[in-house]
């Protein structure tokens, strides 16, 4: 533990105030999202706790009819905005992490295979990656979402929407991982330790997984962090457009979509607080990623 605390990595972390602050913000938001049912003052999806009379309460002000007060106000149905944000962040973060994990596993596997095996396999994988890279990833995610939605049976669509979303964002984002891992694998495969492993007869699968993979992980970690910010924004965009999380499981993007409808009638808080939460989340993950990239780049040391 002390060894870890004194490592180069932690030293640079302790001396980067931006990194510390953004790490704390991300940690706090993740904590709130994970323990949302314990923290949130109300369960926004339990109709028995809702009181329509509480609708459109202003933030920090007692409601005109019931006298109840809500930190961040309520929406048209009297749902506490603070609670819906906590639950929405849960969905946003879950989709973000799961999509990046999916993209990472897919990208690393294809990258390792392309780099280590080479030949026709490599050509096919990397050409596919090149082609996909020419399309903006948000468009790819939208198309995959649309196609997958078409293939799911109608009665399952709302239940499956979150998973379809994860797969769509994940598939739109594997290319970066594959390219970096392939590049690193190409370098590693000619090193002596790999040749030694080949000589003692280890299988290709074991060499890729146990010998090469651990040596290419640090750039992967950097890409994963930056991808997380992109995935969170992609999820919010898709949900905002109405082709993501269903209304029964609103994410931050869905909440912003709902809030946009009240912009003209003056109920700004229904839109404002989810938007600020989304921005804070995306920005701190982004800043953390930027710092990580610099800290893990040996050329900058």
């Amino acid at each position: 533990m002390t060894q870890f605390w004194n490592s180069d990595f932690m030293w640079s972390f302790r001396h980067a105030p931006v990194a510390i602050v953004s790490f704390c913000v991300v940690a706090l938001l993740v904590f709130c999202a994970v323990f949302a049912p314990l923290i949130a003052p109300f369960d926004p999806f339990d109709p028995s706790t809702l009181n329509l009379m509480n609708g459109f309460s202003k933030p920090m002000e007692p409601n005109a009819f019931t006298g109840d007060s809500f930190w961040l106000g309520t929406d048209d149905q009297g749902r506490d905005v603070f609670s819906t944000i906590l639950y929405g962040m849960r969905i946003s973060l879950f989709v973000g992490f799961a999509a990046v994990l999916f993209a990472m596993v897919l990208g690393i596997s294809l990258g390792l295979i392309a780099g280590y095996v080479g030949g026709w396999t490599e050509t096919i994988i990397m050409r596919t990656a090149d082609v996909q890279l020419t399309f903006p990833s948000i468009l790819v995610a939208m198309l995959i979402f649309g196609i997958a939605k078409g293939f799911t049976p109608v009665e399952l669509r709302d239940q499956m929407a979150i998973w379809v979303l994860i797969i769509a964002i994940g598939l739109s984002d594997w290319v970066q991982f594959a390219r970096v891992v392939r590049g690193a694998a190409l370098v590693e495969k000619n090193k002596e330790y790999v040749q030694a492993a080949q000589l003692i007869g280890r299988s290709s699968f074991a060499i890729m997984l146990r010998h090469i993979l651990p040596n290419v992980l640090s750039p992967v970690l950097v890409i994963a962090t930056i991808s997380l910010a992109l995935a969170i924004i992609a999820e919010a965009t898709l949900s905002f457009l109405g082709v993501g999380a269903p209304p029964t499981q609103p994410s931050l993007g869905t909440l912003i979509r709902i809030g946009q409808g009240f912009l003209f009638s003056g109920e700004w808080w229904i839109l404002f607080f989810p938007a600020v939460t989304l921005l804070t989340l995306a920005l701190s993950v982004n800043l953390l990623g930027d710092w990580l990239r610099d800290a893990m780049n040996p050329r900058l040391k």
Binding site: F135, P136, L139, M142, G150, T237, L263, F264
Partner: protein, 325 residues
């Protein structure tokens, strides 16, 4: 040279065939096409006739070929939701998107290049630093939030500009344009800023870094030594030499503008192709989705092919590289 071009064209063709296959399988395997087309009141004879007409009893490859044949001729079938030919809807919607994209592209290029040159020349000035910082924030804001922010400022608070739609439009020779009326022009302002902002920052940063590079070059120093005016040096000598990468990036961004128009059109309820596509996804209107998928792929593959070939024509070094690889 010829083999490189042929190889590129061949690859583009394969990509389009694969995209076509995806579009076709959506069309063929999502739900029952006959169910989707005939609706509730139908007889067995109707079903037989349509099955025969659509060629659903033929082998898969033949059906795929028929589909491609139709697609090349612009025939994508009939929208499940609107009950009209998809091609007709697309032609009707295209002017809105193209006008929006053109204005955004124009804004992005003119402001991007101007601000890029400005921030490069006044590298240490306060204004330049402010612009650079603001541009950073602009890049990290998601597009839809920028749109909402603009609506809040200019439509809700100030009430200057409309927040949705195209305003009044005039039809000129089958092309419905918003350029000719005051309300049409006003309606263009917010959406085109929203759509162009990201590309503008991108172009600005690119021009700035290229300019900084070029301004350090020897021939600029010689131009200074010859006593040329600063203006001549900056615009005639420096800017001209930064344009090649700017043109390529702008070309590639053309596709991105059309793609991001989906988001902008939804925020502003702009009746273009992007909004059509989003609605098609929401209602699983397969023919429209398939047609959009094909169109956008043709566009992206085409743009990339052209940029690749242009590179090849402009930069002789690439030819040598290709020979060794």
């Amino acid at each position: 040279m010829l083999s490189f071009i042929l190889q590129r064209v061949f690859q583009s063709g394969i990509v389009l065939l694969i995209v076509g296959l995806v579009a076709f399988s959506m069309f063929r395997f999502v739900g029952d096409p006959i169910d989707n087309m005939l609706g509730q009141e139908r007889t067995d004879a109707d079903i037989e006739r349509l099955r025969d007409q659509l060629g659903l009893d033929k082998p898969f490859v033949v059906q795929y070929y028929k589909f491609l044949e139709g697609a090349v001729q612009g025939n994508f079938g009939i929208s499940y939701r609107q009950g009209r030919p998809v091609s007709e809807i697309l032609v009707e919607r295209a002017p809105a998107t193209l006008e929006l994209a053109a204005v955004s592209g124009f804004l992005a290029i003119s402001f991007g290049v101007a601000l890029g040159v400005f921030t490069a020349i006044r590298r240490n000035g306060i204004a330049a630093n402010v612009i650079m910082t603001v541009s950073l924030i602009g890049v990290s804001l998601p597009t839809f939030l920028i749109g909402i922010l603009l609506i809040y400022l200019f439509s809700v608070e100030l009430g200057w500009l409309p927040s949705f739609g195209r305003g009044e439009t005039v039809e000129v020779g089958g092309w419905r344009t918003g350029f000719l009326t005051a309300s049409g022009l006003k309606a263009l302002i917010l959406p085109s800023i929203t759509l162009g902002l990201y590309q503008m920052t991108l172009i600005m940063r690119l021009v700035r870094s290229e300019m900084l590079e070029v301004l350090r070059a020897d021939y600029i120093r010689f131009a200074r030594a010859r006593g040329l005016r600063e203006k001549t040096i900056n615009f005639r000598h420096a800017l001209k030499n930064t344009l090649v990468p700017v043109i390529t990036v702008t070309g590639l961004q053309l596709g991105a503008i059309i793609a991001f128009a989906i988001i902008t059109e939804t925020v502003f309820q702009w009746p273009g192709v992007g909004l059509l596509f989003i609605n098609a996804i929401q209602f699983v209107d397969i023919p429209v989705m398939a047609a959009y998928l094909m169109l956008i792929s043709v566009m992206f593959v085409g743009i990339n092919l052209i940029v690749d070939l242009l590179y090849f024509a402009i930069d002789p070094r690439l030819r040598a590289d290709k020979a060794t690889v």
